[in-house]
Symmetry: C2
Subunit: 223 residues, 2 copies
Amino acid sequence: MTSQSQQKQAGPATERVRVKRLPKRAAYDRETINAILDEGLISHVGFALGGQPFVIPTIYARVGERLFIHGSAASRMLREVRGAIPVCVTVTLLDGLVLARSAFHHSMNYRSVVMLGSATEIAGIEEKTAALKAVVEHVIHGRWEHVRWPNEAELHATMVLAMPIVEASAKVRTGPPLDDEDDLKLPVWAGELPLRLTPQAPKADASLAPAIDPPQYVTNYRR
Amino acid sequence: MTSQSQQKQAGPATERVRVKRLPKRAAYDRETINAILDEGLISHVGFALGGQPFVIPTIYARVGERLFIHGSAASRMLREVRGAIPVCVTVTLLDGLVLARSAFHHSMNYRSVVMLGSATEIAGIEEKTAALKAVVEHVIHGRWEHVRWPNEAELHATMVLAMPIVEASAKVRTGPPLDDEDDLKLPVWAGELPLRLTPQAPKADASLAPAIDPPQYVTNYRR
């Protein structure tokens, strides 16, 4: 599978986050990495217990140079990860199908970030509330000021972990298929089929008063 | 975060794939698991090297009770994973945002599958070609018969791994927010914002003959 060049100036922070396969697709600059993290909604958090890896989909938010992940205080995943064990957090955005003339050169356009490190728990009430605000605002900007904020029991029932964004690499593929020259004459359609995560019509909760319309940050939502 | 009940008859194949957190969201029946695997386009493959987990986005396909993942024969991930080390493969479909009256009850609607096991390499030319056909057809049904099939050099440059779908669990959240009763009177819009991965207009490759129109399996594409 071939790729469009996506060379950036910055190098990897460490050897273990260097993109080995198709290095032309790699990017290590903070701007590329942050843009991917800020657009994604779900991260996949990897951790290993006794050599067995687990990969769990998890909501997150980036604030500055830290990634917050959160969930129930009863979550086995979070309880393991807060022990500062080695973690890998991956965020992948799928941008489209790449349809080549040959099966071999089929690919996908995507942007992904792989982050290594370890996470520590955010315990202070103020910092935890700020992190939860960041998560809500990351998912849907404008929402936090309208909702009821977490009370003490809810904060207690929620775990927030923070991971520094230090060892991170992005991998990006864009553009058309890159077919072998001999295949260009084949009578088969080739190109890209872009894919987008698109909001559908909002569904009001059944117990919502009919006078309450969905706000603009819902009706105009897009990633 | 609360959930809609999604109880199924089947139990987990092993204790380590039992969903601990919010077990009402769990499903272990093959039908639920297969439907999620068949709709997804990207899996996140987790493996650990010396205690450090790595999570890599990877194209895949399900055939019967096996999952095929594939990539370059030069891929470090695939070369490590084919050593039959413990692997976790996770597929997540995001179905929408769940907007509650309280920050605490915000959630997402999603369907995910977590599979544990190990993978072995598919080396025979016929079986490998069949697996690659399955991957292309999984991504875009109807494509295989129109493209040039892999030649020997391409098969050699491609690695295909197979993982039996034995230890797998699904987790599914559907439906509206589940707010605390005291919050129902708050004057804030609450409900679901469904999200869908939607194809945009196909972009023909620049070197495509103008007489070749995109086929129906492209123009009518949907997951």
